[in-house]
């Protein structure tokens, strides 16, 4: 699915963010991404999405460089991020209709189910929603794409506890089906415990891999993360 070989990334004229990173994400795998603030989680995901070029090494998604993905392959990749701002004048339904155009496997039936599940009205204007509600709209669009790889960048932090639980319930269902791979970047360690297959921990440019049960020990803070 996704392969990263000897990848290094340096900010132009500045420090090395990621050093000699190797990773393989298998189909159906759920990978957690953890790290301190400024460790490079978002930068790593930008590289996987092809938004930045690597300094050296390779990233290969379904046999292609993410910076030059053909349309048919790009539809297998969906990105949900806290940094994405949705158009404020659109209603939720208009936004979902807009996004559905780009994904051939978009499931319109699932769309209504998810809107009901997250208790959202399709006619609501995005500008009138809170930040958490806007992220839920984004989550609905991402889940309906049925993309082979879903990348989630710290979107859970702004969700209320109930919505977070609902979101993870869905992710766990997807994980059990093993039809989609998931990469979840988060600052909330508990989100990963017992859910992910493994955790990629970034620290000072270096990557290490851990079991989800070891998450609390990563920061050496005991049960508090």
């Amino acid at each position: 699915m996704l392969e990263i070989r000897n990848m290094n990334y340096q900010i132009p004229k500045d420090r090395l963010i990621l050093e000699n990173l190797n990773l393989t994400v298998w189909p159906g795998e759920f990978l957690g991404l953890l790290g301190k603030n400024g460790a490079g989680k978002t930068t790593f995901l930008d590289l996987v999405m092809g938004l930045r070029p690597v300094t050296s090494g390779q990233i290969i998604f379904q046999g292609h460089d993410p910076q030059f993905l053909p349309q048919s392959v790009a539809e297998d990749l969906v990105f949900l991020s806290q940094d994405i701002k949705l158009p404020r004048s659109m209603s939720i339904q208009e936004y979902l209709d807009y996004m559905s155009f780009f994904y051939r496997n978009y499931d319109h039936d699932k769309e209504q189910e998810l809107l009901d599940y997250f208790e959202m009205s399709p006619k609501s204007k995005i500008g009138s929603l809170s930040t958490g509600q806007q992220k839920k709209a984004q989550i609905v669009s991402g889940l309906c794409t049925n993309a082979k790889l879903m990348i989630i960048d710290e979107i859970t932090a702004v969700l209320d506890p109930e919505s977070r639980l609902k979101f993870f319930t869905i992710l766990e269902k997807l994980h059990r089906k093993r039809t989609q791979s998931l990469i979840l970047a988060t600052n909330i360690a508990e989100d990963l415990v017992g859910r992910v297959d493994r955790v990629l921990f970034l620290d000072h440019g270096k990557a290490s891999y851990h079991e989800s049960s070891e998450v609390h020990n990563i920061f050496k803070l005991g049960d508090v993360a």
Binding site: I11, P12, K13, D14, R15, M49, L51, R52, P53, Q67, F68, L69, P70, Q71, A74, E75, L77, V78, F79, L80, S81, D83, I84, K85, L86, P87, R88, S89, M90, E94, Y98, M99, F101, F102, Y103
Partner: protein, 474 residues
């Protein structure tokens, strides 16, 4: 194509309210500028149409989220195109305004009076503006490390300054380069308008390529002394110095001098050079692309010496000559001009007197001559016109005399000259209004009010006195 249409439909839905509101405001402003649409100042229409789009497009940038677009499964070059095209929508109200007031727009080679060419030029220009904005947006979110304050300034300068200077310098400088190549190769059949469209298209293509390149290589977002420093130095030298030093020459060059050497000699006011031209080889009455003959250029410039020289060399001057006004003239009255109106525009009473003495025009012609002078604020020639029998109280179809036109353009010197030479300040037009009703200027009201009193009327000077230029003898 489907992708682009899908995106533009979505963008329209997002921004429809702002667009319609902008259109209403634009049309209201243009209508409020004068009584009827045909007299709206053409330069203002173009300016407002452009500014409205620039302001709304720039305001939209506040909510712009690059990641919103980059997260979509769209190839990068198509992504840049749809972002640029989405912003072009903000300029549609401007395009509609230009279409509504099309008849008031200037007719010259730069803004060619062909609606399709005007629209193509307009959209290429605004696309270049939007491409430069998108270039800044692509660079902006990628900057994570700023070593120092000075380099921060340089990166800001690069994003704003170089991108805009690059775009405009390439557009202006490159156009002059291409135009000079056309001159050297003798390809005069290529119209200025087509050159602008072709070259504007090339600049736009370059900017789109640069957007795509920066998107793939974030190193280009940072300041590089080697590349960016050299480019900035080159641009500053290439664009600012010639623009200041050779502004008029560049403008003259952009608008074709003329097919014969007479034009250059007249521009240089060089009688010796003029006399040396062989009239058997070069047609002294050949017109340039603006419709001027060399003698008309001399009339327009108020250059009596060149006029006399050209006349002696056999240049013909009849009342039928029709030339467009110079594209550098800020005010337009009617679309076509004859030698009398060009002499008025020169604001040289001697030149006007010479033209009037040619007796090219019969009675009943050019009844709007004083109106024309007043509208263009050419006060020095008003006494000459009155001396030659033009009536300061002559009303046109709308019932307005020349004093109305002077008032509307806030030309104090013209108002003074007309009032002192017998213009009736209390005259009413067909809508029942007096000249003072067409100005909001307190000073203008004060001047007109003073002339209402009988005492001032008694003190009115004879037509032989030229107040604006008392040193000129009649």
């Amino acid at each position: 194509m489907k992708l682009i249409l899908h995106h533009l439909t979505s963008e329209y839905k997002i921004h429809a309210k702002v667009m319609w509101f902008t259109l209403v405001i634009l049309l209201a402003i243009c209508y409020a500028l004068s009584i009827d649409a045909s007299k709206v100042d053409s330069v203002q229409i173009i300016w407002y149409s452009l500014v409205a789009g620039m302001v709304t497009s720039s305001a939209y940038k506040k909510d712009f989220s690059l990641k919103y677009y980059t997260a979509m499964p769209i190839p990068r070059d198509q992504l840049i195109l749809i972002i640029v095209l989405g912003r072009v929508l903000y300029f549609i109200p401007g395009a509609v305004t230009l279409t509504v007031y099309y008849s008031a727009l200037p007719r010259d080679p730069l803004f060619n009076h062909s609606w399709p060419l005007l629209m193509i030029t307009y959209f290429i220009g605004i696309s270049i503006f939007n491409a430069i904005q998108v270039l800044g947006d692509i660079e902006n979110p990628r900057i994570e490390s700023v070593p120092g304050r000075f380099e921060s300034f340089l990166m800001f300068f690069k994003k704003i300054g170089i991108n805009y200077i690059l775009g405009s310098s390439l557009l202006v400088g490159g156009f002059i380069l291409i135009k000079s190549s056309v001159e050297v190769l003798g390809l005069h059949f290529i119209n200025n308008q087509f050159l602008i469209i072709l070259y504007g298209g090339a600049v736009l293509t370059f900017l789109m390529y640069r957007c795509h390149h920066i998107f793939l290589n974030e190193h280009l977002s940072y300041w590089s002394w080697k590349k960016d420093g050299a480019l900035a130095t080159l641009l500053i030298a290439a664009s600012i110095f010639p623009a200041i030093a050779f502004k008029q020459k560049a403008a003259n060059f952009a608008y074709n001098h003329g097919p014969t050497p007479y034009f250059q000699a007249v521009d240089e006011i060089d009688q010796l050079k003029l006399r040396r031209i062989d009239t058997k080889i070069h047609d002294i009455n050949a017109k340039n692309e603006l419709g001027y003959t060399p003698i008309l250029v001399a009339v327009r410039n108020g250059d009596l010496d060149s006029f006399i020289t050209l006349k002696s060399m056999g240049a013909s001057l009849t009342g039928d000559e029709i030339a467009s006004a110079s594209p550098l003239d800020p005010k337009k009255f009617k679309e076509k001009y004859n030698s009398l109106k060009l002499a008025i525009l020169s604001n040289n009473p001697k030149m006007l007197e010479t033209i009037l003495q040619q007796e090219l025009y019969g009675q009943g012609h050019n009844l709007d001559a004083l109106h024309f002078a007043a509208h263009n604020c050419k006060a020095a020639v008003i006494p000459t016109l009155i001396e030659f029998g033009f009536n300061p109280n002559q009303a046109l179809e709308n019932g307005q005399s020349s004093l109305f036109y002077a008032t509307q353009t806030n030309c104090y010197s013209a108002v003074l000259e007309l009032a002192l030479h017998g213009a009736d300040v209390k005259l009413k037009d067909k809508s029942g209004k007096e000249p003072k009703d067409y100005t909001k200027s307190f000073q203008m009201h004060h001047v007109l009010k003073r002339f209402e009193s009988k005492k001032m009327q008694q003190n009115r000077l004879p037509a032989s006195t030229n107040l604006a230029n008392p040193h000129l003898k009649r």
